[in-house]
C-alpha cells in the first residue's frame, strides 16, 4: 500500500505549496471538506501511488483562493464545496454560483440534522 502523508499548512501558503507539487509532477486527486466547528479543507495529491495531503481550517467568511489556475479541473470540486458547505472560494475558472446541484436548502452539510428537518417542515 502506498504512503499517506498529512501536512498542516496555513491558508496563505496554499498557492506556493500547490505550485511546488505541480512542478514536481503530482496530480490532484480530490478536495475534501468536513465540518465540525468551522470547515476543514484537505487537498490530496498523488504521484507514483504516494498520497500527499494538505490540510487547513477556515470558517465560512475567510477567503480561500482557487487553484483552478494551476489545476484546471479543480473547478468541479470547488463548486461542490462552495454549494454544500458554504466555503468562500474566489476566482474559480468556471463558477456555477450555487446552481450546480440546485438544492432548495442552502449549504445543507454545514447544518445539523435537526435544523434541516425544521426547515423542511417535518
Amino acid at each position: 500500500m502506498g504512503q499517506q502523508i498529512l501536512k498542516e499548512i496555513k491558508i496563505n501558503d496554499l498557492l506556493t505549496e500547490v505550485l511546488k507539487v505541480k512542478n514536481e509532477g503530482y496530480r490532484l486527486v480530490a478536495i475534501t471538506c468536513s465540518s465540525k466547528e468551522g470547515l476543514e479543507l484537505t487537498y490530496s495529491f498523488d504521484k507514483d501511488y504516494e498520497l500527499l495531503n494538505f490540510r487547513f481550517e477556515v470558517d465560512t467568511e475567510t477567503e480561500v483562493s482557487s487553484i483552478s489556475a494551476l489545476y484546471p479541473y479543480a473547478f468541479l470540486y470547488e463548486n461542490e464545496i462552495k454549494e454544500l458547505f458554504g466555503a468562500n472560494i474566489k476566482n474559480i475558472s468556471i463558477d456555477f454560483n450555487n446552481t450546480l446541484y440546485k438544492i432548495p436548502v442552502k449549504t445543507p452539510f454545514h447544518m445539523k440534522s435537526s435544523e434541516l428537518e425544521v426547515k423542511h417542515g417535518k
Binding site: 486527486v29 480530490a30 475534501t32 465540525k36 498520497l51 473547478f75 446541484y101 438544492i103
Partner: protein
C-alpha cells in the same frame, strides 16, 4: 464565422443510462464548447452518517450505485478496517477478489452493450447482455442477489463459496470466454464499428494527465496507472500487468476494456487455484477513531474513500470521490471539435455512472 446555436443535450436521452445535462455550443454542426450540469439524482447520502451507525452504513454505501455496488461496499469496509487495525483472514481476501473481478466483468459487458446500442447495432447489444446473464446467475447462486450483494462486511465476508461451486464457476467462465471471443471479434474487426470509433475523440497523453483522467480513459492514452498493482485484497499474490493502449481515441478505449475482461477471467482462475482454507470473518468490537484515505480500482477508474471517525458509533464524515467525477473535465475537452452525431458515443466512452458521481 458561422452561426452559433446552443443545443441542450438533455437529461432524458435514449442513449444515456443516467441523467446528465450538457449545453452544446454549435457552430454549423461542429461542437465548440460544452457546459455540464449535474445534480438530477443527488440523494445526499453522505449526510446519512449522522443517523446510521458505522455498521449499518455498509448497506447504504453499497447502494450508491447499481453497477459498481460491490466495490463501493468493499472500499468502505477496507477504509474502516484500516482505521480500526483489523486484519481480514486470507480466505476472505480471496473471496472478495473473486467477487470484485466478476463485478468488473459484468460492468464491462454492460458497457459494451450500451456502446453498441449507441451507434445503432442492436443485435450486438442483445448478445453482450445475453453473456452478462450468466455472470449474474453466478452472483445469485453465491450471494443471493443479482445486483446488490450485501455480502461484504467489516472484518470479512458473510457467505462462503464451497469447493463444488468454485468448480462450477470455472466451467461457466469457459463458456463465457468462448462467447466473449465471438463478440470481441465483431467489436475489434467490423468495419462499421471502426468507422464510428476510430479517430473520434482523441485525447493525447499530456492532456489526459493535465486534466486528471483516470481508469480506462487514461490507460487508452498511454498513461500506465492501475491501482490494483498496489496489492490491496489478494492482488498482491496474483500475476498481472495493466493493459495500456496508445491510440487515445474511442477505438482504443474499447480495446482496453475488452482486454480487461479477458484479464479478469484469467485473474479469477488464478484466485480459484490459490484460495486457502480458513475463517471468513473476524469479530469486530468497539468503535473506530481516526481517519483514513483508501483508494481502489473500480471498473471505471480510481475511487477514493475518506472516512473520519471520532470514537462514537456514528462516523464524522464519509466522502467518496468517484472516477466519473474525475473524468468529466476530460469529456468536455474531447467534445471540442467533434460533430453533433458523435456526441452520444463520446459520452458513452467515459462510461458515465452519474448516480456514483452525485451520491
Amino acid at each position: 464565422m458561422g452561426n452559433r446555436t446552443i443545443v441542450p443535450f438533455g437529461p432524458q436521452h435514449p442513449v444515456l443510462p443516467e441523467p446528465i445535462h450538457l449545453d452544446l455550443v454549435l457552430e454549423d454542426e461542429i461542437v465548440v464548447e460544452a457546459i455540464p450540469r449535474i445534480g438530477y439524482i443527488h440523494r445526499g447520502l453522505e449526510k446519512l452518517v449522522e443517523k446510521k451507525d458505522y455498521q449499518q452504513y455498509t448497506y447504504v454505501a453499497e447502494r450508491i450505485c447499481g453497477i459498481c455496488s460491490f466495490m463501493h461496499g468493499m472500499g468502505y469496509c477496507m477504509a474502516i478496517e484500516n482505521i480500526m487495525d483489523v486484519k481480514v483472514p486470507e480466505r476472505a481476501e480471496f473471496l472478495r477478489t473473486i467477487w470484485a473481478e466478476l463485478s468488473r466483468l459484468h460492468s464491462h459487458l454492460l458497457w459494451l452493450g450500451l456502446l453498441a446500442d449507441g451507434f445503432g447495432f442492436e443485435s450486438l447489444f442483445m448478445q453482450s447482455w445475453k453473456i452478462r446473464e450468466q455472470v449474474l446467475d453466478i452472483f445469485e447462486e453465491t450471494t443471493g442477489g443479482r445486483v446488490i450483494f450485501s455480502v461484504c462486511d467489516i472484518g470479512g465476508v458473510r457467505k462462503d463459496i464451497s469447493f463444488e461451486t468454485l468448480e462450477k464457476i470455472k466451467k461457466i467462465l469457459t463458456d463465457v470466454e468462448n462467447e466473449l471471443e465471438e463478440a470481441a471479434k465483431v467489436f475489434i474487426g467490423d468495419t462499421t464499428v471502426k468507422l464510428r470509433t476510430k479517430g473520434v475523440g482523441v485525447l493525447s497523453k499530456q492532456l489526459a494527465f493535465d486534466l486528471g483522467a483516470v481508469g480506462p480513459m487514461a490507460r487508452a492514452s498511454g498513461i500506465e496507472m492501475d491501482l490494483r498493482s498496489q496489492g490491496y485484497a489478494a492482488y498482491g499474490k496474483l500475476d498481472f500487468k495493466p493493459i495500456v493502449d496508445h491510440g487515445g481515441d474511442s477505438y482504443a478505449r474499447t480495446a482496453v476494456r475488452i482486454g480487461e475482461m479477458f484479464q479478469a477471467i484469467n485473474l479469477i482462475r488464478q484466485c480459484i487455484s490459490l484460495i486457502p482454507d480458513g475463517d471468513i470473518k473476524v469479530k469486530v468490537t468497539g468503535n473506530p477513531s481516526g481517519e483514513n484515505f483508501m483508494r481502489i480500482e473500480q471498473p471505471r477508474g480510481e475511487v477514493v474513500y475518506y472516512a473520519k471517525a471520532n470514537g462514537t458509533k456514528y462516523l464524522d464524515r464519509v466522502r467518496v470521490r468517484t472516477p466519473t467525477f474525475a473524468n468529466v473535465p476530460a469529456l468536455l475537452e474531447t467534445l471540442k471539435g467533434c460533430s453533433l452525431a458523435d456526441v452520444p458515443i463520446l459520452i458513452l466512452t467515459i462510461d458515465p455512472c452519474i448516480s456514483c458521481t452525485e451520491r
